[in-house]
């Protein structure tokens, strides 16, 4: 049985080249957007903007500029987090979303029927519909490459090793060392998703960040959708009970009125 595999993304060495995006698109044969015609976002040097069904990797550009001489760029190559407790897998009604032997989360495109429940369930906004297949799609952590002992296309292509692929245990050790190194240099560095006792049982794609998670478009405390099931079902049950009682009390009152009125009928 292979050990859990994943990504450690050190955002401090990402240069925003988007080689990972290109490698992902090429290996997974993902279609171009807008018929291949380039479209500028208009408010950022980042023109792909988001993860979706045809962008399984996205290099986020965070342009923090207060003035012409006061600012910085933060870059982060974002991808499916392959959560240890995955919301998408939890809600998928067709069984299309599975956990692999590498502890990664994969959508089987031939099983998915495009109900899109997983899109709303993912706390990170990773999944979307691929308009060509009509199914929900996202990063597979190159399951096909892993099966034959190859590294995922994105990490293979990354020229600065911002995206590092390996066993989760080894990546965590490496990540903690890097955080210590950066902190010694006075950099405010934190790991996001590396704690197995943290949110969602840890993320098999975790990050080193130098600002708050929200700045990178990441929720501070991602949670499973099922957290709402018990409360929501209880309130619904109470609502149904109230309406049921209202209906029955109304019918009983009508019957009592009938019995009380002269010439009224008895119970049927």
């Amino acid at each position: 049985m292979p050990e859990p595999m994943g990504f450690f993304t050190d955002t401090t060495v990402c240069i925003g080249c988007k080689a990972c995006e290109v490698a992902c698109k090429e290996w997974n044969q993902l279609p171009a957007e807008n018929g291949g015609v380039g479209e500028l976002s208009g408010d950022s040097y980042d023109n792909t903007r988001k993860l979706d069904g045809i962008h399984w990797r996205h290099v986020r550009f965070i342009e923090q500029f207060k003035g012409p001489y006061d600012g910085r760029w933060l870059m982060m190559s974002d991808v499916c987090k392959h959560c240890v407790q995955a919301g998408c897998l939890e809600v998928c009604p067709t069984g299309a979303i599975i956990r692999t032997e590498f502890d990664t989360v994969v959508i089987q495109s031939d099983v998915c029927n495009g109900c899109r429940a997983c899109i709303a369930a993912c706390p990170f906004g990773v999944i979307d519909v691929n308009p060509v297949s009509g199914t929900a799609q996202k990063c597979t952590l190159c399951y096909d490459r892993l099966k034959v002992g190859l590294e995922p296309a994105c990490s293979k292509a990354c020229p600065t090793d911002s995206i590092q692929f390996g066993s989760i245990a080894e990546l965590r050790t490496r990540a903690h060392k890097r955080v210590d190194q950066l902190k010694a240099q006075g950099v405010k560095a934190e790991l996001y998703g590396a704690d197995p006792d943290g949110a969602l049982g840890g993320l098999n794609s975790f990050y080193l960040l130098v600002d708050e998670p929200e700045v990178y478009g990441l929720p501070r405390k991602p949670t499973l959708p099922s957290r709402n099931l018990g409360k929501s079902a209880s309130f619904s049950l109470a609502s149904a009970a109230v309406l049921g009682v209202l209906a029955l009390v109304g019918l009983r009152k009508r019957r009592m009125d009938d019995m009380g009125s002269p010439g009224g009928g008895g119970p049927n």
Partner: protein, 301 residues
């Protein structure tokens, strides 16, 4: 900022909005028909029969809307059976969309059986096969079918709200009240549909008066739950500063609840407003969340 703002919109729009409305209405109508079937009087039968008809048509329409909305409609059965391991059942009790798929199938079955039974009772079934099925759904069998179907009706009305809450989307996952709200709305719209359609089947004034009285009470329950719902998403109240907020506060609360409550003397007109309000409730709650641009919100723009 709620962590729900980092999720993606599932594009549940103009097939899902009518499905939630029709499903709720059909479920509510079946529940009321079953209540009258069990505890009503012989003079209530026209309303009972109308309720079963509404439920059957609504269930079939719901199934069609759900199927058309899928990215791959021909794979709708993957929600019911394991596609790679047929005929093994596909069911996840903790996933509302999974148990909802089964519930809508069963609700369809029960509502069609009840509708056939009611039509057989009237002698309106021409086809021998349908007449044979309808003939079975009488007496105790009919009561049993309508009892289970009535509970399924409430379930169909409410599970759609639970489905929205069991996500990570803004508004939906920020409140536990949507299921309760949709059940109340299903009951009020179901009663409204019966008030409008049952007179053509010979409904008596007394039954219609009971329906109008129940509808008013259901609207009060709906209003109270709606207040609780709005309070529960108070921390993200800026989401209502939009067209959908206007739809909720003016369309749903104003025209769909408060106006019908003041129209005792005109139950038919009130019923039309209740139906409008029920539809707009789904429009506002679904599209307000769908329309949030996660990137702009995440960036604080």
């Amino acid at each position: 900022m709620s962590d729900t703002f980092f999720s993606g919109a599932p594009h549940w729009t103009w097939f899902i909005v009518p499905y939630f409305f029709v499903g709720g209405l059909a479920g509510g109508a079946y529940f009321l028909a079953a209540a009258l079937d069990w505890f009503g009087r012989p003079e209530d039968r026209p309303v009972v029969r109308t309720g079963y008809d509404i439920a059957a048509v609504g269930a079939i329409l719901s199934g069609l809307l759900l199927t058309i909305d899928l990215g791959r409609p021909l794979r709708f059965w993957h929600m019911l059976f394991q596609s790679e391991n047929f005929p093994a059942i596909m069911f996840k009790g903790w996933s509302p969309i999974s148990f909802g798929a089964w519930a809508i199938l069963l609700f369809g079955l029960f509502s069609v059986l009840s509708a056939l039974g009611a039509r057989a009772e009237e002698g309106r079934l021409q086809m021998p096969a349908l007449r044979a099925v309808g003939g079975v759904v009488t007496g105790g069998v009919a009561k049993l079918v309508s009892g289970v179907g009535g509970l399924l009706g409430l379930f169909i009305a409410g599970y759609t709200g639970i489905l929205l809450s069991v996500t990570n989307r803004p508004i939906w996952a920020d409140s536990p009240w949507l299921g309760a709200l949709f059940i109340a709305s299903g009951a009020s719209t179901g009663a409204a549909a019966l008030i409008l359609l049952a007179p053509a089947r010979g409904a008596t004034e007394r039954t219609l008066a009971w329906l109008a009285s129940f509808d008013a009470r259901a609207l009060v329950v709906e209003l109270l739950i709606l207040v609780a719902f709005i309070a529960s998403v108070w921390s993200i109240r800026q989401v209502w500063i939009s067209f959908w907020g206007l739809v909720l506060f003016v369309g749903v609360i104003g025209f769909g609840i408060l106006a019908p409550l003041r129209m005792h003397a005109k139950p038919a007109q009130a019923a039309k407003l209740v139906l409008l309000g029920g539809f707009l409730l789904r429009v506002a709650t679904i599209l307000a969340s769908e329309g949030i641009d996660r990137y702009r919100v995440a960036a604080g723009l």
